[in-house]
């Protein structure tokens, strides 16, 4: 049993409810007496609010409450992850209020709310609210926002600077660049993305006047954290007076990690309505304006080295657009999760990175699938190709010459994962990069690519091939490091699991993590089944409700399998040990003489003297006969704080063809060889990779949030923001190497983000390779047909 379940392609236990329409997403929940909220959002990107007249709206049919900012006594939303780790660093923090009071900083910031008997009535009444606006000058570009004369968003943030953060050895890197025979410089833009989970966000707030308690259903990846943030930081009420519940989540990709204004608004409104439930579900267009965006970096990179292809230095300056006000962990993404992993899988001795976080009149930016690491991978992987091009070396060979060698682990990354004040430090603990690259190159036919290019030319196409040899820091994170280094949630990032075996032998595993489609109910059950020798059908995995689950930090950062999974292993271990002790009691043997084989607890040397776990549980849960000092029931909770992050790696290879006449780019092949450690359920791992790859390819080829100079979101709906469709992709060809993570007993690393981290750069490099006959060294994404056509056309016109 144990060996069969772990690592097996087991069908997901979640699926029967989803394939029959019996999932329960937030909008599926209907409570007696429910009211419906709709939020009036700013049509201006930057404006002062002179007045808001809600009288007409209050008189509209079905309206039960109209709220404006001045009605809400709560604090602004919390800033849980300022840029940290650098002595004396200052963060000029401005976070949203529950509803804006004096001014708005982006198109879509909430200024008033209507609560009515029906959604339609709430929407109708919104149109009756009259706001007198004083429009202000607008800036949407992060680099321009820092220039003299730019419109200023916040008094406490001169030149719109949120923070100026650095990492690495400036003097050493400057010297390395000075001394290098070859240096390549490039300005690159990692464009803003709209994450687009298929389910938008929403909340249902219920206040109970009888108990003075609040309950909120929320489409959230982090119910425990939201309870903490809403109670202690926003609403100023005791933490135990709020219960947060996440129902089934229809995709999240980071967007549902954060503390949003609507959460507090629903709870406030329910209290104002003496306990009537208040439901709010955003529209897709609202999602585009008021749920977080991702990426949006402008970067100046400089990469230096020798003509022989030894990289000696990397210097990076990045403007990170964080939006009009800060989202919950916005500053953490372009700092800790970006600058600290910039050198990727290469031994670059000198790395220095400066990041300026910037306010602009745009939607706030925070963690989107990969969160900082796709941006870092894009920088280093473009830089490697630029350098290879400069010295005339094959890009794969350049990578090979600079990989961290397998015998160099643990490797102390010079861009610094940071040393905490207590001396704690983390290292890249493992890796073996060449075999993954070789496998990917062989599968993709790298050696015969010139012939493929020639064949394509005969068909009027330019073919290009691109690599991305990535590493990823995931499985975040050791609390003693991430807390003490002044980064992360500012606290800890352990995980929790509670395991109960009830009288009938049925198992309930309760987790502090929070699925959004990853199949946790299956993978955790596989872990417990393997650990305890119990059939999958006898195990149920519960999560998502602060009432009844142990505190956990939630699911993001590819941390659930490694950190949460290990907590489950530990809880199962505690169960096994207690069962062993009780079996000894039942069998009148010494504890040391009991050996556990699957679900059988045997006396060593006398296998006929044994108790099944079922028998142990029944007696122990009843507790009629207990050894001295033992408490009844099999009910164990474990907390696991990982000693290190995990370090997945791999090589992705994209092959594209560009139509010479139209500039249209087709992804024709995609090969991915990933090393995500051991796999609990390879079927689920493959699915995660597929989805991540598709999102990363989407960024390279089609997706981009575009603002007009007036701060209007031009890509304001799915009609103008290209969420990829099925026919745009080939089948992805997956391969693997397996280097178990030494960090956790499962040997797992994490896979939720890997595809998205690797694929953007691979496709970008392929497109640039395809355009190399035009002398094009770089082009910013997305590679839409008009943009590629323009690049080819301009080069042709010039030559």
């Amino acid at each position: 049993m144990a060996t069969d379940v772990l690592g097996a392609r087991i069908k997901r236990v979640e699926d029967p409810r989803f394939i029959t329409g019996k999932g329960r997403y937030l909008d599926d929940i209907k409570l007696a007496g429910m009211t419906y909220m709709s939020i009036l959002r700013s049509p201006y990107a930057h404006a002062n609010i002179r007045s808001i007249d809600t009288a007409a709206a209050r008189a509209m049919p079905g309206v039960v409450l109209v709220l404006v900012g001045a009605d809400i006594p709560y604090n602004p939303l919390p800033m849980a992850w300022p840029a940290g780790g650098v002595a004396g660093i200052r963060n000029n923090i401005n976070t949203p209020r529950v509803l804006a009071t004096d001014s708005v900083k982006w198109t879509g910031e909430g200024v008033a709310a209507v609560i009515a008997e029906t959604v339609a009535q709430a929407v109708d009444a919104l149109e009756a609210i009259v706001v007198e606006w004083e429009p202000l000058p607008v800036v949407v570009d992060a680099e321009k926002a820092t220039q003299p004369g730019a419109p200023q968003l916040h008094e406490n943030a001169p030149n719109n600077v949120v923070f100026e953060w650095t990492v690495g050895d400036k003097a050493g890197t400057d010297a390395a660049l000075e001394a290098a025979p070859v240096i390549v410089r490039q300005r690159i833009v990692n464009q803003r993305l709209i994450p687009n989970p298929m389910e938008v966000r929403g909340d249902i707030g219920v206040y109970n006047p009888g108990t003075d308690e609040y309950t909120i259903w929320m489409s959230s990846q982090t119910p425990h954290i939201q309870r903490l943030l809403l109670s202690a930081f926003v609403m100023g009420i005791p933490e135990h007076k709020i219960r947060c519940i996440s129902p089934d989540i229809g995709g999240a990709f980071g967007t549902k990690i954060f503390c949003y204004a609507d959460m507090a608004l629903c709870l406030f409104a329910s209290k104002a309505l003496n306990g009537r439930p208040v439901k709010w579900v955003e529209t897709r267009r609202e999602n585009y304006q008021s749920t977080i965006h991702g990426r949006d970096h402008i970067t100046y990179l400089e990469i230096a080295g020798t003509r022989e292809g030894e990289i000696t230095g990397l210097r990076v300056k990045t403007y990170a657009n964080l939006g009009g006000r800060l989202s919950t962990i916005g500053p953490g993404i372009p700092t800790t999760l970006y600058g600290r992993v910039l050198s990727g899988c290469y031994r670059i001795p000198n790395v220095y990175c400066e990041v300026t976080g910037v306010y602009t009149n745009t939607t706030f930016v925070d963690a989107y699938r990969g969160a900082g690491r796709p941006e870092a991978t894009y920088v280093i992987e473009r830089a490697m190709d630029l350098f290879a091009d400069e010295i005339g070396l094959d890009p794969a060979e350049l990578r090979r010459r600079n990989f961290i060698a397998p015998d160099k682990f643990p490797y102390d990354n010079p861009s610094g994962l940071g040393t905490a004040s207590n001396g704690e430090k983390i290292y890249i603990d493992s890796g073996n990069y060449e075999p993954a690259m070789d496998m990917a190159l062989a599968t993709a036919g790298y050696a015969s690519i010139d012939k493929a290019k020639a064949d394509a030319r005969a068909r009027g196409k330019y073919l290009g091939i691109g690599l991305s040899t990535y590493i990823e820091v995931c499985g975040v994170a050791p609390s003693k490091w991430i807390g003490a280094v002044g980064e992360g949630w500012g606290a800890a990032m352990w995980e929790s699991a509670n395991l109960k075996i009830h009288l009938t032998g049925k198992v309930v595993l309760t987790m502090g993590t929070q699925p959004q489609g990853q199949g946790h109910e299956t993978t955790y059950a596989q872990i417990v089944s393997s650990e305890l020798g119990i059939p999958m059908d006898d195990i149920i995995v519960q999560h998502s409700d602060t009432q009844g689950t142990p505190f956990g930090y939630g699911s993001y950062g590819s941390r659930t399998a490694s950190v949460g999974g290990t907590a489950a292993v530990k809880a199962a271990g505690k169960i096994r040990e207690k069962a062993r002790q009780y079996a000894a009691h039942m069998l009148e043997a010494a504890v040391d003489d009991i050996e556990v084989v699957g679900a059988e607890y045997r006396v060593k040397g006398s296998p006929e003297k044994m108790k099944t776990l079922q028998e142990v549980v029944f007696a122990l849960d009843l507790g009629f006969s207990l050894p001295a000092g033992m408490e009844p029931y099999l009910d164990e909770t474990a907390y696991y704080d990982t000693p290190n992050c995990t370090w997945p790696f791999g090589t992705h290879v994209a092959i594209v063809e560009i139509d010479e006449e139209t500039g249209k780019v087709d992804l024709v092949r995609y090969v991915a060889v990933d090393d995500v450690g051991k796999k609990i359920n390879p079927m689920i791992v493959d699915g995660q990779l597929h989805g991540g790859i598709a999102q990363g390819v989407g960024q390279a080829l089609w997706e981009g949030a575009v603002y007009g100079d007036d701060g209007q979101l031009l890509s304001g709906s799915m009609l103008d923001y290209a969420v990829p469709r099925a026919s745009w992709f080939p089948n992805f060809e997956l391969g693997e190497t397996v280097t178990p993570s030494p960090v956790n007993p499962l040997g797992v690393k994490g896979v939720g983000e890997a595809g998205a981290i690797a694929s953007t750069a691979a496709v970008a490099n392929a497109v640039i390779d395809a355009l190399s006959p035009f002398g094009i060294r770089h082009l910013d994404m997305p590679y839409t047909a008009p943009k590629v056509w323009r690049a080819m056309h301009d080069k042709e016109a010039r030559s």
């Binding site: 394939i19 599926d28 687009n196 489609g517 597929h690 709906s717 469709r725 026919s727």
Partner: protein, 166 residues
């Protein structure tokens, strides 16, 4: 102003009172409690709301309830007899054709339309056949595999017995 609308949904006759502006998807979800049909966008792009109307896949967010007075609708809840699974549902499960599950009902309803007209589609035809449905989790690969598998099952005429898995 309200209107009386008679609908047969998953074989069951209903009469509901709606405002003319009530969208079919809201009638199904709010009036009939059939929440398996989802709303994922507001521009008729995502297809999460796809149901079958008189045997053809339509986006129920882009149909008024009053327009389908007298019509017959199948939603994801009506795809299979109680306790059983339709070949498509089973194939989505077998092939890991879903992750968060939000797009899945609409995807299955669109796939049913595709297979009804083209029982043996190529992968390319499948990918184009679901062009009206967005999925953000799967990269579509396993959805394509699931639809291919379901087509094969349906062509073979093999019944999918109630609760039959593995």
């Amino acid at each position: 102003m309200t209107e009386q609308v008679r609908l047969t949904v998953n074989g069951v006759a209903h009469e509901i009172t709606v405002e003319p502006r009530q969208l079919l998807v809201h009638a199904l979800r709010e009036d009939l409690g059939l929440t398996g049909t989802h709303v994922g966008c507001d521009t008729s792009q995502c297809g999460a709301c796809t149901v079958q109307l008189n045997g053809a896949a339509v986006k129920s967010c882009t149909v008024l309830a009053v327009q389908v007075d007298g019509g017959s609708i199948t939603t994801i809840e009506g795809m299979a007899p109680e306790g059983g699974l339709h070949a498509l549902q089973n194939a989505f499960w077998e092939k890991h054709g879903l992750q968060c599950g939000f797009c899945t009902p609409g995807m299955i309803m669109a796939a049913a339309d595709l297979l009804a007209g083209n029982p043996d589609p190529t992968d390319d035809e499948i990918r184009h056949g679901i062009e009206g449905n967005l999925c953000r989790c799967t990269g579509y690969q396993n959805i394509v595999a699931a639809i291919r598998e379901a087509g094969s099952t349906l062509r073979a005429g093999a019944p999918v017995p109630a609760g039959a898995q593995d």
